[in-house]
């Protein structure tokens, strides 16, 4: 695969040197006219010492990498927890050191870490910080100082979370949903310091994220470069932007429920606590409503699913388009689908609560709204595969991750229709089917995109190409392994095996699945271990990797057209780029090359049949 880049190197270099200074004097000024700048140049604070350059840094790109590394660290912790859980489930005789308390603590921490501290932070904090200013043509985020504080708040939140492993009683073991009364009741593992640290950590995360989120939103809304309209933005930016909107509006519910639960725990209020009889004694609580917590939690929790999924949708659209050398099919539809899914996600939260004992009539409302979301989501899937159709698909590692994403996402999306449709959900909820569904759709599928994005943008961040051969091994082991973990797991759910069971071998229909459970555990160990291939690959590449040069993938979007690779602080050198077209002009008939960067003015590609600008 790599020869093609070598062959085309000279041609793209010629192209890019012309296009970087694209707005200059050209033969047809009317044709290339772009409105003058509304906003003056942004003042940037350039770090002078090691500390201001790399630690308390105000450069969004460094902050992005900091977010990325911190999130990956928590992700590895989550991965190790999942290994321990799988060891217990597959080979309980080998996991003699694990008690039920440990198991439930690991379940809880694995869930919370992966959803909030790993995926959310990685997509929005990591990719968002790195890519938004580059892709919309800004010098930096609009409030660099606030952005820096945002990261350090996140860092403290992670530290507080990790501290809960070392306090007496250990971390909380109430399930990642932290349902009361369970979560703060004596007897639940970690119901003392553990749950408090978890709630504090979540509150810090929300506060820190709000600072970052304001930055992402205002950068996209108010700091785009000349010519960059919203409908010319790459879908990556659309995905991250919409996800940030959701986060800004959904995290308040989490903050509120955290505060209320903290008060229940510390002050003995009864927001969520009804009269409770525990070990023969009536507790001092009374009159509260556990269902209220569930509503607040899922009012946050469902948008949270899309906070993870939408950036993945956006990024994968870009990757597929670049690597199949074809414009993304139905760009406008894709944008509206992202926005529509985001908006609808605030009206569907209680489909997580069909069997929770809420007002039974809600089932009709939420089943309907939930299944409406299936339509824009399905449109996105069609558009991805239609982008492949009649393209020129580079079967490199990045594309493999994208294809893996399509398979796992379609699989998980369709099981989502099972669980969103109220009647079908009743027998399946709280079984392994649910586990299989959400791991497939918001665990594996976004992870595939993250991996693809790492292979895609690593040349930009580090200036070197990751090893393709190692990358392919990494992909196949991860994809096949992960698929064989979660695909059979659906069938455990059909049998009726409930979630969150520490042991499960004493009922006839569960006994039949012993062999499968062992197989799933083995696959989980292998898939987890395979992730270290990537870490090895990165370390190796940083030392001896092939230099990437400028724009190795021959992509159109602005991040590949910076003054230097990797881009320096300020991103674009002396002059900000001027945008003349959308990011997807690949293989335009009549063009010399199979891509036309966003900065190329129309007068330079006058003979091409460009349809949309």
């Amino acid at each position: 695969m790599s020869e093609e880049y070598e062959n085309n190197k000279s041609s793209y270099q010629a192209q890019s040197s012309e296009t970087i200074s694209g707005d200059g004097a050209s033969s047809a000024p009317d044709m290339d006219y772009v409105r003058p700048a509304e906003i003056g140049e942004q003042d940037l604070y350039h770090g002078h010492s090691f500390i201001t350059k790399w630690i308390f840094c105000q450069d969004a790109k460094v902050i992005g990498v900091q977010y990325f590394l911190t999130a990956v660290f928590t992700g590895i912790v989550g991965l190790i927890l999942s290994w321990l859980m799988r060891l217990q489930l597959g080979f309980p005789e080998l996991a003699g050191f694990m008690t039920a308390e440990h198991y439930y603590q690991f379940v809880t921490m694995h869930g919370m870490i992966m959803v909030v501290y790993f995926l959310t932070a990685l997509f929005l904090g990591g990719f968002g910080n790195y890519l938004i200013p580059l892709m919309v043509g800004a010098r930096d985020m609009v409030f660099p100082y606030v952005n820096m504080i945002s990261f350090w708040m996140f860092f403290i939140a992670v530290a507080v979370l990790m501290a809960s492993f070392f306090v007496p009683g250990g971390p909380t073991g109430s399930g990642w949903t932290l349902y009361p009364p369970q979560a703060i009741l004596e007897g639940t593992p970690g119901s003392g310091a553990g749950i408090l640290l978890m709630l504090i950590s979540l509150s810090l995360f929300v506060i820190g994220f709000t600072m970052g989120g304001l930055n992402y939103l205002i950068t996209v809304l108010q700091a785009r470069t000349r010519g960059m309209t919203l409908m010319r933005m790459p879908l990556t930016v659309w995905g991250i932007f919409t996800a940030t909107v959701l986060a800004m509006l959904a995290f308040p519910a989490l903050l509120v429920s955290s505060i209320m639960m903290t008060l229940d725990k510390v002050l003995g209020t009864s927001f969520f606590m009804p009269t409770i009889l525990k070990a023969g004694e009536v507790l001092e609580y009374g009159g509260g409503s556990p269902i209220l917590f569930q509503h607040l939690f899922w009012f946050f929790g469902h948008p949270e699913v899309y906070i993870v999924a939408l950036p993945a949708f956006g990024i994968v659209s870009d990757l597929i388009s670049v690597h199949s050398r074809k414009n993304i099919f139905g760009y406008r539809m894709m944008v509206w689908a992202i926005v529509g899914i985001g908006a609808l996600s605030f009206f569907v939260w209680a489909h997580h609560m069909y069997v929770s004992g809420m007002n039974p009539w809600f089932g009709f409302f939420f089943a309907t709204t939930t299944l409406i979301i299936a339509v824009p989501t399905a449109m996105k899937v069609y558009n991805w595969i239609l982008t492949l159709w009649r393209g020129n698909i580079r079967m490199n590692t990045v594309m493999l991750w994208c294809l893996g994403f399509i398979v796992t996402f379609v699989n998980g999306g369709i099981t989502g229709i099972f669980l969103g449709n109220v009647t079908v959900d009743v027998p399946l909820s709280d079984t392994y089917f649910v586990i299989a569904h959400f791991h497939m759709v918001m665990g594996i599928a976004p992870l595939m995109v993250i991996m693809g994005a790492v292979y895609h943008w690593f040349p930009l961040v580090a200036g070197r190409m990751l090893d393709e051969k190692l990358g392919k091994w990494h992909f196949w082991i991860t994809f096949l392994g992960a698929y064989s973990i979660y695909f059979p797991m659906h069938y455990l759910g059909f049998i009726g095996v409930p979630r969150r069971y520490f042991e499960m071998y004493d009922s006839p229909y569960m006994t039949s699945a012993v062999g499968m459970n062992e197989f799933i555990s083995l696959a989980a160990f292998i898939v987890g271990a395979a992730q270290f291939i990537l870490i090895y690959n990165i370390i190796k590449t940083l030392k001896v990797g092939k230099p990437a040069g400028k724009n190795p993938w021959k992509a159109n979007s602005l991040e590949w057209h910076t003054s230097t690779v990797p881009p320096e602080h300020g991103n674009f050198g002396d002059r900000l780029p001027v945008v003349h077209r959308w990011a997807y002009d690949y293989s335009v008939p009549g063009a010399n090359d199979d891509f036309i960067p966003q900065t190329t003015p129309p007068s330079e590609v006058i003979n091409t049949e460009v349809e949309k600008t």
Binding site: Y179, P290, L403, I406
Partner: protein, 284 residues
């Protein structure tokens, strides 16, 4: 090229797995066959879409792999195609949703002749209460629960006296007679779930939740707790014994009612008193 083959193998493997899987749902033992039907319907429609989308993808991989200078289609949008796909998906979604809503309507509306059963859950166990001859359950209060009154029945409530108390985690049910399960928890969330009956609902402290089903196959079934309720969650089991009408009536006769329990306790108290007196006498 090999990538396409592996993806193809994954798709075909998934279908084969589904066909030959030894793991599938347990035989249904209640009236909720309609739930199985909706699952089957969703399975066929969804599975069809999954296979079609993935096969299309694999076809693209085979057909359009990178070739220098291949002519690539440049067509940013196709309004007509997008419209067709949107409508087709919408119709499919409506077809899946409509039966679901119809069945849910049956699920939330309990038949008039259903027997109410009070299912009380705690960490970690179950016990049950059936209405007595009056067909009505007495009201309860958590603070009333003690050794003498294991269900916390309000003593002043006349409906409570003839309630049949089953202080065991196994309950017997009559075939072909709907039961309305009234779920009650005294501490945390629980969920009374029998896989063979398909239906389930959480028990929440502070309120009472319900669902109903009609067992239609005699036999013994296992009750699982399906909502995480603490470290004993996985071991929180119970049982259901679905019996024919005669067996059930016979079983019901043997059960103790609340007034029996009170009488028994009174007797016990009297006896202890007598015993104490006797001992006192002896000492004197």
């Amino acid at each position: 090229m090999h990538a396409g083959f592996i993806f193809l193998a994954v798709i075909v493997g998934s279908v084969l797995f589904h066909i030959f899987t030894p793991w599938y749902w347990t035989d249904i033992a209640s009236n909720w066959g309609a739930m199985d039907d909706t699952i089957t319907l969703t399975f066929w429609v969804g599975g069809g879409v999954f296979v079609a989308v993935c096969l299309f993808m694999v076809y693209c991989v085979f057909k359009f792999s990178y070739k220098e200078g291949r002519k690539v289609e440049y067509k940013p949008e196709d309004k007509k195609l997008e419209k067709i796909l949107t409508w087709a998906t919408t119709i499919g979604v409506v077809a899946l949703l409509a039966p679901g809503l119809v069945v849910w309507n049956q699920y939330v509306n309990v038949p008039k002749n259903a027997i109410e059963i009070d299912v009380m859950a705690w960490q970690w166990g179950w016990q049950y209460r059936l209405p007595g001859k009056d067909g009505k359950l007495g009201n309860t209060k958590i603070v009333n629960i003690n050794e003498d009154n294991p269900f916390g029945i309000i003593l002043e409530d006349p409906n409570g006296n003839d309630d049949v108390l089953i202080q065991s985690d196994v309950i017997n049910l009559k075939t072909n007679r709907p039961v309305k399960i009234l779920l009650r928890s005294v501490d945390v969330l629980h969920n009374w779930y029998v896989p063979q009956f398909r239906a389930k609902m959480d028990a929440i402290p502070g309120v009472i939740t319900y669902y109903w089903f009609e067992p239609n196959k005699t036999g013994e079934y296992e009750v699982l707790c399906a909502e995480y309720c603490g470290v004993g969650h996985y071991a929180m089991r119970g049982g259901v014994n679905v019996q024919s009408e005669e067996d059930y009536e016979k079983w019901l006769q043997e059960q103790e009612t609340f007034s029996d329990l009170i009488a028994k306790q009174k007797k016990l108290e009297l006896e202890t008193e007598k015993l104490a007196k006797k001992i006192n006498l002896n000492i004197e």
